[in-house]
C-alpha cells in the first residue's frame, strides 16, 4: 500500500511540476575542431557535410576535421578544448530553455569571449585562431546532436 501511494504521489508531483520531464542532468553537446584553408583544391571533409552551408560563407575552400569532443554539460562547468595551435578554449552553458541554449565561448589566446544564444536545432561555427599561412581553426558547437 505504502509503495503504491508513494508511486502515485511521485507521479502526481510530476504532473503538477513546472519542469518538462526530468530536469536534464546535462545538455549533450558535440564540439568539433576544424581547419579551413585557402590553399589547395576546394575539398570538404565528408564528416563536415552538415556544415556546408555555414562554411560556404567563409573564404576558406578546404576544410578538415581535426578533433571532436562530446560531453553532457552542466551549467557553468567549462568544457576545455585543446587546439592544435597549443591554445585552449573553454565552452560553457549559461542557460538552457525549452527552445534555446546559451553558450559562452572563451578564447583566451585571442582575448575573445562570445555569448551566443541559439535555438536547439542550430549550431555555432566560431573562428578561434587568426589566419596564419592561409588557414585558421574553427570550432563547431551543437547541442542535442
Amino acid at each position: 500500500m505504502t509503495g503504491r501511494l508513494a508511486k502515485a504521489a511521485v507521479l502526481t508531483a510530476a504532473v503538477l511540476s513546472a519542469l518538462p520531464a526530468e530536469a536534464a542532468p546535462g545538455v549533450p553537446v558535440r564540439v568539433r575542431v576544424i581547419r579551413g584553408s585557402r590553399q589547395g583544391p576546394p575539398a570538404l571533409d565528408p564528416q563536415l557535410q552538415d556544415l556546408q552551408a555555414q562554411l560556404g560563407h567563409t573564404a576558406y575552400l578546404r576544410w578538415e576535421q581535426v578533433g571532436e569532443h562530446r560531453a553532457d554539460m552542466d551549467f557553468n562547468k567549462p568544457l576545455d578544448v585543446p587546439l592544435p595551435s597549443g591554445d585552449r578554449l573553454q565552452i560553457l552553458i549559461l542557460e538552457s530553455r525549452k527552445e534555446t541554449v546559451t553558450f559562452e565561448v572563451r578564447v583566451p589566446a585571442q582575448k575573445t569571449q562570445s555569448k551566443l544564444t541559439i535555438s536547439k536545432d542550430k549550431r555555432i561555427v566560431h573562428q578561434v585562431t587568426p589566419e596564419k599561412d592561409g588557414s585558421a581553426y574553427f570550432v563547431t558547437i551543437r547541442p542535442w546532436p
Binding site: A21, E22, A24, P28, K98, E99, S119, D121
Partner: protein, 209 residues
C-alpha cells in the same frame, strides 16, 4: 527575441526589405515544421510556409504588436495549412480519416514507457520512434494532427489552443488525448510491441464534440 522582432518589424514596415528577410530566416524552419505536421507533404509544407510569410508581409501595416510576431506567423501558417489539407481532401475525394479504420485497441498503456525506460537520454528505440513520428502523424486525422503539432512544435497552452482553434478548453484536452492515443497506438505497432489487436473495435468512445 520578441523585442528584437518588433524592431525588425518596425524597420520592415518602413520598407526595409532586409529586416523582413531577417525575420523570415529566423522563423522559416519552425514555420515549415508546423506546416509539415499539418499538411504532411514536404513540398506542400514549403509552399504553405512561404505563403504564410508572403501574407505577413502584405499585412505588415496591420500588425499592432499586441501578440508576438512569431505567434502571428504561426497563426497564419496554421490556417493556411488547414485550408490546404481541406482543399486536397476535396480534390482527391478521399476520406482522409484513415485512422478511424485503424484498430485502436484498449490496453497497452505503459508499454511504451517501459520499453523506453525513464532515462530521457537517447536510446535506440527512442531514435527509432522519433524517426517514425512523422509517418505516424500523417496517418491520423487532420484535426488531431493540427492540435498535436501546435502543442508540441509551437508549444501553445490549452488557453492558446482554444483561442487559435476556436474551441473550448475541454475540447482541447479531449482532442489532444485522442490524438496522443492514436499516435501511441501507431508507435506501439511500429515498435513491434504487443498490445495491438488488429480488427478489433475502436476505443471506448469518450465522445469528443
Amino acid at each position: 527575441m520578441e523585442l528584437e522582432d518588433l524592431a525588425l518589424v518596425t524597420r520592415a514596415r518602413a520598407g526595409d526589405g532586409e529586416a523582413f528577410r531577417a525575420l523570415v530566416v529566423r522563423y522559416q524552419r519552425k514555420v515549415y515544421a508546423v506546416a509539415l505536421g499539418i499538411v504532411k507533404d514536404p513540398d506542400l509544407a514549403w509552399d504553405v510556409a512561404q505563403d504564410a510569410f508572403v501574407r505577413v508581409y502584405t499585412h505588415l501595416g496591420e500588425f499592432k504588436g499586441e501578440s508576438a510576431f512569431s505567434t502571428w506567423v504561426f497563426r497564419i501558417a496554421t490556417h493556411l495549412g488547414i485550408d490546404a489539407v481541406r482543399r486536397e481532401r476535396t480534390r482527391s475525394k478521399q476520406d482522409v480519416d484513415e485512422a478511424d479504420e485503424l484498430a485502436i485497441a484498449e490496453g497497452g498503456e505503459g508499454i511504451l514507457a517501459t520499453a523506453l525506460g525513464t532515462n530521457p537520454q537517447e536510446t535506440a528505440l527512442r531514435r527509432e520512434l522519433r524517426d517514425k513520428m512523422t509517418e505516424a502523424l500523417a496517418q491520423i486525422p487532420e484535426k488531431h494532427r493540427t492540435i498535436l503539432v501546435l502543442r508540441e512544435v509551437e508549444g501553445l497552452s490549452y488557453e492558446e489552443l482554444a483561442e487559435r482553434l476556436g474551441i473550448n478548453k475541454g475540447t482541447v484536452m479531449s482532442r489532444l488525448f485522442h490524438a496522443r492515443k492514436k499516435m501511441q497506438a501507431l508507435l506501439r505497432r511500429y515498435a513491434g510491441i504487443a498490445g495491438e489487436a488488429a480488427g478489433s473495435g475502436t476505443g471506448t468512445g469518450t465522445g469528443e464534440p
